[in-house]
Symmetry: C2
Subunit: 218 residues, 2 copies
């Protein structure tokens, strides 16, 4: 699976331009903690939902008191918004990386099968950020959902384009409607969280079945 970019932690909390001698590659302590908090929060939000996860739970899992989290995040909502944002960013990047790897020469069915596999790999194998997004997006507070509208639309565009292209090339089943196909594929992928067992299921196998069902050979 393609390695996923780490979330860039350049919050520019302090002006480091005046300290040119400092090793820029050494992560600062606050950044390490912030990253740990995000990772643990992703796991817990994914497993218990937004309301079911308390800041005490998250703090305990990183060896901190709940109050200490406020040094890194202004509120539970801000922390959740960040976790969920990273979640979309990661699938989006994984899918685009896969499409780049395949290149323009690949068949359209090959590209869609690859995009499906990349989405599944991120969801099943890589991290809990994307899973947390899928599990929490509906019950998260409005402020969190609103902050994610744009990134969600950006990722959706990738699929809109892929399926649109397949429709124009007449590669969808005769009676299938393009929008319905897109929604069905993404639904099958996201719902796979409820049954997937990375020990038993292989992303490529499910990707094969989906691509073979929705997209004709081009």
């Amino acid at each position: 699976m393609s390695p996923c970019c780490e979330y860039p932690m350049t919050d520019s909390l302090s002006d480091r331009s005046a300290l040119a001698a400092t090793d820029e590659s050494a992560p600062k302590r606050a950044d390490v903690s912030r990253q740990q908090i995000l990772t643990v929060a992703a796991t817990l939000f994914c497993a218990r939902g937004y309301a079911g996860t308390s800041l005490r739970d998250i703090g305990a899992a990183v060896g901190m008191k709940a109050g200490s989290l406020y040094y890194h995040f202004a509120s539970k909502e801000e922390l959740a918004a960040e976790v969920l944002r990273i979640g979309v960013e990661r699938v989006h990047q994984a899918v685009e990386a896969r499409l780049r790897t395949l290149g323009e020469s690949a068949s359209l069915r090959g590209k869609i099968e690859g995009a499906i596999a990349a989405h599944l790999e991120t969801l099943w194998l890589e991290s809990d950020f994307t899973s947390a997004h899928i599990r929490c997006i509906h019950t998260a507070p409005p402020s969190v959902r609103n902050s994610l509208h744009q990134v969600r639309r950006d990722y959706e565009t990738v699929w809109r384009n892929l399926i649109g292209e397949a429709a124009r090339a007449s590669l969808l089943p005769p009676e299938a409607e393009p929008t319905a196909v897109r929604l069905a594929i993404l639904g099958a992928l996201n719902w796979s969280l409820e049954w997937s067992d990375p020990g038993r299921h292989k992303p490529e196998e499910f990707a094969r079945t989906l691509a073979a069902s929705f997209i004709r050979e081009g």
Copy 2:
């Protein structure tokens, strides 16, 4: 859409056999309240999740105080388990009713398309019980989930049989695996909660796309 059976409220809290003169068809006050609580709880659990819904919220929505709910249910978990159980029961019954209506003479694709449509109609149009089940099953407490294992398996069997039959009749796409097809269909259906807008989307249209993609004409 086929009318769905009301949940039978025969809790036999009191022995009515000694009161033969009483009109058996008149619902008792407790039963009316209980039913109102369940309906409202389904709506709120569906919208806000298990942990995000308080007994105070539910009470307020039925015009009661939180404490009064304990006359009808022993705990929040018991209330949630009942709501979610009714949710599976309703889709299950709707799908079986549709299959009975179609009869044995229907084509296999016709039966599967009908089952898909019936599942969607229950989810989108009929009530919030099934939606609440789908939204809450993962984050609900273990005791709730455990109490639902059997009913969930019972409903799953309907689909296992339908897709198995299609596989034996060689009606699945060449490279598609039967289990994957079943999981993909149910995933696409359940995830439709996240995008469906009963004003804009018609259950039969989405059902048509899914059946046409996964099942060949028999």
